[in-house]
């Protein structure tokens, strides 16, 4: 395992570095490829749209000029940009000036991480189990036809399901709140009441991601289960007279589960992209909603900062998952 493993790690690490490099470079290059002075553009656009409290415009222009160093060579600018990325200095928000972009992101991050983490965990578990059962010949027919319905839902974007849930469970029947992360004006503390309020507000956004995502996991698992059940060792286990339950769990599920885990890394980008609009629909105070607000108010530096954070953190998360996989399934490092 060792030599292969390190080859594999080096390859995955290289890909991660490339992605980070590309993400930062694209962030640097795009505004400069557009005609005109990026600062003038941004401020002019903002002025034209009459965007609220502008703060001290002069100070902002000065700060951006120094930051971009637009009179210097492009190489110097590029290096300076990397330096500011490394020191996590992403500049100021244009619409909520003196707020720093980094702080704006930090404020939204826990909400998004909680939403995504919980939704992914639940949908992965339920979807994998459902898919396994759908691929198992002895499962009741009712479960299979119910499962097919769930599979269809997986093709629909999360936010569409969110809109339907919002209408029925917050507008027609006022069971759940229509938006936000917790009741307006409530101060967060580490107590049962806060946790209950947060869970209450998160229910509908969570459900919209989970409902759509279960099917995606079930499809992959069903396919894997069917092909695993065709293996000789299943026939042998059957011939030995093992109980079906044992064959299903120990022989079927366990082997079909491994490729399923590797798909988790591939799915990350997809899940994050989908969750952005779910946050928008529910005005959920995470990164996605902040991104939407920034796009609307043309708060360019916040957009840039969030995009950079998303690309880099997904690259790192995928790398970490990639490191773990060969430990679970040695076949991965042996090459595809």
């Amino acid at each position: 395992m060792t030599a292969n493993y390190w080859d594999y790690v080096a390859r995955r690490f290289g890909i991660m570095l490339l992605v980070v490099f590309l993400a930062v470079s694209i962030n640097f290059a795009l505004p400069r490829l557009m005609p005109g002075d990026p600062i003038e553009n941004q401020l002019n656009q903002l002025m034209a749209s009459g965007g609220g409290a502008m703060g001290d415009v002069g100070a902002m222009v000065a700060s951006y000029r120094a930051r971009f160093g637009l009179d210097q060579s492009i190489v110097t600018q590029y290096l300076a940009y990397w330096q500011s990325v490394f020191s996590l200095d992403l500049g100021f928000s244009l619409t909520n000036y003196p707020e720093r972009v980094g702080d704006a992101i930090l404020a939204g991050l826990p909400w998004t991480l909680g939403l995504l983490g919980f939704a992914t965990l639940v949908s992965f578990t339920v979807g994998t189990l459902l898919g396994g059962l759908m691929g198992w010949p002895r499962s009741p027919r009712l479960l299979k036809s119910f499962g097919s319905g769930v599979l269809l839902l997986s093709s629909v974007p999360y936010f569409l399901i969110g809109m339907i849930l919002l209408y029925f469970f917050a507008v027609v029947f006022r069971i759940f709140p229509a938006g936000g992360g917790m009741p307006f004006g409530m101060s967060a503390g580490f107590n049962l009441e806060t946790i209950r309020a947060i869970a209450w507000h998160a229910t509908l956004p969570l459900l919209s991601i989970i409902i759509a995502e279960i099917g995606a996991w079930a499809i992959g698992m069903r396919g894997m289960m069917v092909s695993v059940l065709g293996e000789d060792y299943i026939a042998l286990a059957d011939a030995k007279g093992l109980r079906p339950r044992r064959i299903f769990l120990r022989y079927g599920m366990r082997n079909a589960l491994l490729p399923q885990m590797t798909k988790l890394a591939m799915a990350l980008g997809h899940i994050v992209s989908g969750a952005i609009l779910v946050e928008v629909i529910f005005s959920y105070p995470g990164i996605g909603f902040r991104l939407y607000q920034a796009i609307q108010s043309k708060d360019y530096f916040v957009v840039q900062g969030i995009v950079l954070l998303l690309s880099v953190s997904i690259a790192i998360a995928m790398f970490i998952l990639d490191l773990i996989y060969p430990l679970i399934d040695p076949r991965i490092a042996k090459g595809k």
Partner: protein, 283 residues
């Protein structure tokens, strides 16, 4: 002719594929023929009485700014489909070309193409799309298609590369090569026709991915500003709080249409999958 009748027989057996194609056909017919039967003027702001629920004159009601929702839907459908299909075609061509080159050339060319597709798969597409869309002056249907395409060619490239690798070693390709068939002829005469089922299958997946990105961008308000699109309709409905205000006729039709398109694409893709794999098994 024989090919057509065998396809028809396959459709009769493959209910999933049939249903998927029927759904897509319905949507496409509505999108192509619909605009001939509606009055464009009704899709302008202030054309009718705003916020009216469905009535005999306005089948889908009217939105908060007085647009007739039925007209809006009929006009928005072709735009969104155009972006999705154009983006799908561009990324399919790029993907097939790269997949063929990688599969045939091997060596460092293959390594570079594989690395590029791995990297592109890691980058969250919507993040880059948001950045580009936020930067361009004016978004158009064509520009949108190109941007979406640059981020969705990877599935096709991977599928075609894998199939090329296996086809390359088949007996008839080897025979043709030993007979002195030149490289290009080998690709276009011997290999490409046999890839057609896979190309068709990748096309459906590619269009589906492209549509997902397109609808998402439009719903974030980053789509073509001067055109009616399905996602843009949802953007405005969301912007004016149509859900909270109980105006289900405003956001219901675009949601149903988008859901139908995705379910149709998924059924077609699943149906094709069993079709393609069966052909492969028979060979």
């Amino acid at each position: 002719m024989g090919r057509f009748s065998s396809f028809a027989a396959e459709l009769a057996r493959n209910k999933t594929l049939l249903l998927g194609l029927l759904l897509l056909l319905t949507i496409c017919l509505l999108a192509v023929l619909g605009p001939f039967f509606v009055d464009f003027a009704n899709s302008r702001v202030g054309a009718t009485i705003p916020r009216s629920p469905p009535t005999p004159e306005h089948w889908f009601g009217t939105d908060g700014q007085g647009r007739d929702m039925f007209t809006v839907m009929i006009l928005a459908m072709p735009q969104t489909l155009r972006i999705g299909i154009t983006a799908g075609l561009i990324s399919l061509s790029v993907g097939v070309a790269l997949g063929l080159v990688a599969g045939f050339a091997g060596g460092w060319v293959d390594t570079v193409i594989r690395l590029a597709s791995d990297v592109m798969m890691t980058i969250p597409g919507i993040a880059i799309l948001v950045l580009v869309a936020a930067n361009v002056r004016e978004m158009t249907v064509e520009l949108m298609a190109v941007i979406v395409a640059t981020l969705s060619w990877m599935v096709a490239a991977r599928t075609i590369r894998a199939q090329t690798l296996s086809l390359r070693e088949r007996g008839y390709v080897q025979v043709a090569r030993l007979n002195g068939t030149s490289g290009l002829k080998l690709v276009f005469v011997e290999v490409l026709p046999n890839l057609l089922p896979f190309i068709a299958a990748s096309f459906v997946i590619t269009v589906s991915n492209a549509m997902l990105a397109t609808v998402g961008l439009e719903a974030l308000g980053l789509g073509p500003q001067n055109e009616l699109t399905l996602g843009m309709t949802i953007y405005w409905a969301q912007f004016y709080g149509a859900i909270i205000r109980g105006m289900w006729w405003w956001w219901g039709p675009p949601i149903l249409t988008i859901a139908t398109i995705f379910v149709g694409l998924m059924l077609t893709s699943a149906g094709m999958d069993s079709f393609v794999n069966k052909r492969l098994g028979a060979n």
